[in-house]
Amino acid sequence: MNNVLVYCELSEKNQIADIALELCTKGRQLASRLGCRLQAAVLGSGVKAAAESLYPYGVDEVFLADDPRLSPYRTLPHSDVLSKLIQKEQPQIVLFGASSVGRDLAPRIASFLRCGLTADCTQLEIGSHEDPKTKKTYENILYQIRPAFGGNIIATIVCPETRPQMATVREGVMKKEVFDPAYKGVIVPVAVEASLAKADQAVEILSREIEEQKIDIKGAQIIVAGGYGMGSRENFQLLHQFARLIGASVGATRAAVDAGFCEGERQIGQTGVTVRPKLYIACGISGAVQHRAGMEQSAKIISINTDPDAPINAIADYTIVGDVMTVIPQFMACYKNNLK
């Protein structure tokens, strides 16, 4: 049986990383659609409990490689173990996080298996594909949908002939959701002794420095930004809730930062950072030219403002005239409804 396999990377605290839980949530949907099992691979040291924590996400089998040489992550030990596992299990789909780990590991494995790999997918769907030349139709193909060309186009990629079909997905793009709290899967131990012999020596980690999670909004695909019009630090918290719901980062104008609504690292504009997300939601932002300089290259802009003549509206694709404190909760409710 060709199943769906998720490579589960670990957090610094040796827990399953959020991105892996997001991938399992999506993997569960794909497996159910395909009528196959969802499998996960956990490679690390002392991670049995973490592996078992995957069951509620609808994981049927967790392949567990537990060995001190697998932690912290290094390319060759992980690619060695995972390549062999994939060769043995023959999954039809393998998913990785588009993280510094997943983007290091997945291409190496795709090269070894000589299969296709699509980076940074924003959507994964199942559908059929007709080859334009041969007219041959392929059923139950993974549509790997991603922005390309600096975000200027959206491409749907398929790998009709080769297996597995592999994709990476950025953190926060897919939703993380418990499938069934009582779901029970099984642990399948993976032997690593033999496969690590050669791979172990080539790269040695001398030291690691883990930083407190810094705020970094530069690479965000979606930004919810607040201005002085948010009114208060308390009101500004709503933007964090909104951002969590839609997988966005929170930004701010200089006026909002100066008023103490949020941290200075979030400031967007001439004296802050410049961002170019695919979606920028400006909340209570009038749109001073200094702010616009830092965000006007966003692919799509939504402005929520009580003032229909706010300068920001001139560069917005959509302007919602209304009070942020009522419009945002309304929009959040609509979004949740539409996801169902």
Binding site: S100, R103, I205
Partner: protein, 266 residues
Amino acid sequence: MSFKIVVLAKQVPDTHNVGADAMNTDGTVNRAALPTVFNPEDLKALEMALQVKDQMPDATVTVVTMGPPRAAEIIKDARNRGADDGFVLSDARFAGADTLATSYALSQAIRQLGKVDLILGGRQAIDGDTAQVGPQVAEKLDIPQVTYAEELLAIDAKSITIRRRLERGTECVKAQLPVLVTVTSAAADCRFPNAHRMIRLSKEEVRMINADSIDAEMDRLGLKGSPTKVKQIENVVLAHKESVVLEPTEAALSELSATLIKEHIL
């Protein structure tokens, strides 16, 4: 004993300066209307290679690229900045290659160079953003890889020490040579072209290498050797249209969020 460094580079359309005519009406990319640049992270990789050369006077830096003949421009640029040599893999049989076929062609070209000690490249190119070719070349050559490199810390004839970026921090790694290293935008900027070199090298042609010269299996090249196929392309860059003004009603907000979900924006 000489120390051989290969830098993998790509000439890319400048996606950060996309004009209104960058897209054809059918949604395909109008490459003719786009200026081209030396892929920014590949320039950083070149600088790291030149730093190694600064420390190891017997080192040579060879820049390898794949692309149309005009990609020779970046080889010339790299030579002016200090690279010793370079060539373009250029052949219709390479066309339409995805990362797997590209990495195969590049790795075969590198094999023709004999013993190579260090391969450097940008983490990713700004037209594809995949970050896949580096690790795939390393796998094909059966050598280790170090991705997301930010700084060269030490180099000797046997090993390289590098600081690399993690999701939430950095780590210092020491890799045995040969190794392939991909370099991020946080690394040092590349030095400028040198006027003396520009004058001295201006007449020197750039070598073009075709598919017959790299000992390749032809069905692993180009479109034929590429497992990924583009099924559909949607153009999402729009010049700002008239702003749509919405009243904050349930119906309007619901429609907006549905549209954004459908367009893969949310």
